[in-house]
């Protein structure tokens, strides 16, 4: 089948890239740079930096991506929009790779937004469902808001350091941290990372995004996209980190996210929602560790990143398979799946062991490191240790709920066995085996993958060896206690869940998702109000607004112009004054014209006045043209006279007075302008040029004429074209028959 083939080939390509990334990470001594100019004026260069930290992420993205594409071959067939989903998934993978490899922060931002947009389409993949569309919009709005914050932060960063390359920003660390902009930059960057990585109080979009198909959840919402925020924070740790603000902000938010996510997880009965909340909790843990920022904490964060990606992606795939197998994801209705498909249980159990942190899985090592980091961290409150412990214990419970509860039988009768296809089973099992293998050979993973990326990030070796067995020490005792507590909570989880739901209901008016909904609603209301006000469809209104604005502009110019003596004794002859007065009277009368004939005649009088004006002030050509035009217009009006709509009584008096007032203000200002303009202009250089050269160069004595047909002949050509087009328009308007409506 065609679709499956493309899935497999994409999977193969990602796998090759993943292996290549591991190989490169092992052999890379110094970062590799690749750059070329894009928009040099705004400092935008397409510049990439390949170092081991980037390669670590590339390994994660491609490794998980490979399995997800493989999983798609089993999960997506039967879905109408499968090809679209697959191609957007590919686009997403590429933008994610660009994100972790770019060196220029603006380029990073562009890829960042790309992941947001592709995520929007992926979450809304089942766009025929209303909740999918709403979830997609919610994810988009929240992450885009964070993206905007990030963009502002980048601009401020540029103001502070004068560069946009990550590598040179690191060199300017002191400059940035001393800058008065530093707190703003940090908070904005954190806002970008927190929205992307679903940190409290922005966590609510992630569980909502679970309407996406399972492969998408496995890829975006556990292993990669939500880790982009963590990547950003880790990248900026050498630049912005190790200050009190960084420390407090990340530790506080991380701890809050950890505990909120883990508690809410238990109150969910949808497996995917449950897993999503544990993801939120895990992301909180990562933020917390980055906030600690000690060598041990950073190392623990890297290990946990790998651990979490492996088990969470696997569990999401298992959730997808369960859905395929049983037709539901509701934990209250699922049971006895172990009998239906033992292989699936195996696929669920391995990652769940890692999630619980049982030896010999990699998860165990990760958890030990985290506890160790917390225990020896110099500046940490006992409260945070307790929070971390509780979150871990709740995570254990969640793992049991997700991977054990659906599989144990509740009744004696055994349901029929059902076989799942290979693509639905293999990827989670592979991920489980990877976790196991990494746990069994931690030294290899530590030396070849984690240590180089740590060095690339911090610029110094960590001196921490990964070991499976540390002996019985406080850390080990804590781990065991966590497991026991988790298991105990599992025993009473239904009470716990009820408790959490009560608290949730009680606090729901203050919940961030409620605030979000309110905000969106208000915004839409405001937008429609604004549209009603500004776009009410009345031409009169639009014109009045334009007019008032023009008056304002003129007024501003009026008061800023230097006062100039206006010579009132302008060359005014008696006859010109009379003509002007006549035309003015005609113009005034035309306002009050009650019939078409009257209006047209008065218009003619005005035109004639203007013509005579031209005659007296040295413009014979203009006078001639104006006269001809007046005549032509009269002919035209006469020709459609009978077919023009009749004059009708006009609008109410109040409206009229208002319009007249607005028009008067503008007119008065304009009069003053004319007065200034008459004295403003002496012959400028261009006019001088024409006056000098008309006869010698163009052999014409009428300078105006020469300008039109010689110097600016092309413009005149354009003018003729305009006339021709207008004529064609008129013809087509007049010729077409009256159409029936």
């Amino acid at each position: 089948m065609k679709f499956r083939t493309s899935c497999y080939s994409l999977s193969g390509a990602s796998a090759v890239l993943c292996i290549f990334a591991i190989w490169a990470s092992m052999n890379l001594d110094a970062p590799y740079y690749l750059a070329f100019d894009w928009l040099p004026k705004v400092g935008l260069r397409i510049s990439f930096r390949v170092d081991s930290f980037s390669l670590f992420f590339v390994t994660l993205i491609c490794g998980i991506g490979s399995l997800v594409f493989f999983f798609c071959a089993g999960y997506l067939p039967g879905d109408k929009s499968r090809s679209r989903t697959l191609s957007i998934l590919l686009l997403f993978t590429l933008s994610m790779l660009g994100l972790v490899l770019s060196d220029n922060v603006l380029l990073l931002f562009i890829f960042w937004e790309f992941t947001t947009i592709t995520s929007f389409f992926l979450v809304g993949a089942k766009c025929e469902k209303k909740e999918a569309r709403e979830a997609a919009l919610q994810a988009l709005l929240v992450t885009v808001a964070g993206g905007m914050a990030l963009l502002v932060a980048i601009l401020l960063l540029f103001m502070a350091a004068g560069t946009l390359e990550l590598s040179s920003l690191e060199a300017n660390r002191q400059l940035i941290q001393d800058s008065p902009l530093y707190p703003v930059i940090l908070i904005l960057i954190a806002a970008g990372a927190f929205t992307k990585s679903a940190q409290f109080p922005f966590h609510f979009w992630l569980p909502g995004a679970m309407t996406a198909p399972s492969p998408v959840s496995a890829f975006l919402h556990s292993a990669t996209m939500v880790k982009a925020g963590i990547y950003l924070l880790a990248r900026f740790h050498p630049i912005l980190g190790e200050t009190v603000l960084w420390h407090d902000l990340l530790i506080g938010i991380g701890a809050a996210t950890m505990i909120v996510g883990a508690s809410l997880a238990l109150a969910r009965t949808d497996i995917k929602a449950l897993l999503a909340y544990t993801t939120v909790s895990a992301l909180g843990m990562l933020t917390f560790l980055l906030g600690l920022g000690t060598t041990l904490a950073m190392k623990a964060a890297l290990v946990f990143l790998l651990v979490h990606a492996c088990y969470k992606a696997a569990l999401f795939m298992v959730a997808g398979s369960i859905e395929k197998l049983a037709g539901t994801r509701d934990l209250d209705r699922l049971h006895s799946l172990g009998k239906m498909s033992p292989a699936l249980w195996c696929a669920a159990a391995l990652p769940a062991l890692s999630m619980c942190g049982l030896p010999p899985m990699l998860g165990f090592i990760g958890k030990e490191l985290i506890y160790e980091a917390k225990l020896i961290a110099p500046t940490i409150d006992e409260l945070f240790l307790l929070i971390g412990f509780t979150a871990n214990a709740l995570t254990v419970t969640a793992a049991l709920l997700a991977a054990v509860k659906p599989f144990i039988p509740r009744t004696m009768d055994s349901p029929p066995k059902r076989k799942l296809t290979l693509p639905l089973l293999a990827p989670p099992i592979i991920l489980g085996i990877v976790s196991l293998a990494c746990g069994l050979f931690p030294t290899w993973v530590g030396d070849n993958l984690l240590e180089p990326s740590f060095q690339a990030l911090k610029g110094e070796p960590s001196q921490i060896k990964l070991k499976l067995w540390h002996g019985v020490n406080p850390v080990f005792i804590l781990s065991v206690l966590t497991l026991v507590t988790g298991a105990l909570i599992y025993w009473i989880h239904s009470y716990f869940a009820r408790m959490v739901s009560v608290v949730e209901r009680w606090s729901s008016p203050f919940a961030p998702e409620r605030l979000y909904a309110q905000l969106v609603k208000r915004f839409v209301q405001f937008a429609s109000l604004q549209t009603r006000l500004a776009q009410n469809g009345s031409l009169n209104f639009y014109l009045t607004v334009t007019l008032c604005f023009a008056s304002l502009l003129l007024a501003a110019a009026f008061f800023s112009l230097p006062e100039k003596a206006v010579d009132l004794s302008l060359l005014i002859h008696l006859k010109t004054s009379l003509i002007i007065l006549g035309a003015a009277a005609a113009a005034v009368l035309s306002i009050r014209a009650q019939s078409m004939l009257e209006a047209v005649l008065l218009l003619g009088v005005v035109g004639l006045g203007v013509t005579l004006f031209f005659v007296f002030y040295g413009a014979p050509d203009l006078a001639l043209t104006q006269f001809l035009v007046e005549l032509l217009l009269l002919v035209l009006i006469a020709s459609i006279w009978s077919r023009l709509p009749a004059f009708r009584p006009d609008t109410p008096k109040r409206e009229k007075r208002r319009d007249l007032f607005a028009a008067c203000i503008l007119g008065v200002f304009l009069s003053y302008f004319v007065l200034q303009a008459v004295f403003l202009n002496e012959h400028n250089a261009i006019s001088e040029f024409y006056a000098q050269n008309a006869a010698t160069e163009a052999f014409g004595r009428n300078v105006v004429n020469v300008i039109l047909v010689d110097f600016r002949a092309l413009d005149t050509m354009g003018e003729i074209t305009v006339l021709a087009i207008a004529m064609m328009g008129i013809m087509s308007l007049l010729k077409t028959r009256k159409t029936k409506r």
Partner: protein, 111 residues
């Protein structure tokens, strides 16, 4: 002074008529505005008697002469103005034919 007031007056009349609901009135307003704008450009070149025509036997204009540049601009504007107003009239005619009226607020209701 008188010229300035005259142009201002033309603007007032033009704008006022443009704001009317009747399309025909609006068209007349547009024509008046055209006159006003033309005159504004014209007088901004300064006013003087005589014509920008080079006399026999001379090589260039003798000062003082009227500025030829605004005149050329205005000439173009007059001609374009004719095209536009003719088109406007045809449009009004057609609108009236189809919608049976020229009241803008009524047209808005009918869409």
């Amino acid at each position: 002074m008188i010229i300035a007031s005259f142009i201002g007056l033309l603007y007032i009349a033009g704008f006022y008529l443009l704001l009317r609901r009747s399309l025909v009135r609006a068209a007349i307003g547009a024509l008046l505005l055209g006159h006003a704008a033309n005159l504004l450009i014209f007088v901004s070149g300064g006013l003087s008697a005589g014509a920008p025509i080079i006399r026999e036997g001379e090589d260039s204009l003798i000062s003082p002469y009227p500025d030829p540049l605004p005149q050329a601009l205005v000439l173009t504007a007059i001609v374009i103005g004719l095209g536009v107003s003719a088109y406007l009239l045809a449009l009004i005619h057609r609108t009236a034919e189809i919608a049976g009226g020229d009241d803008m607020d009524d047209l808005k209701e009918e869409e």
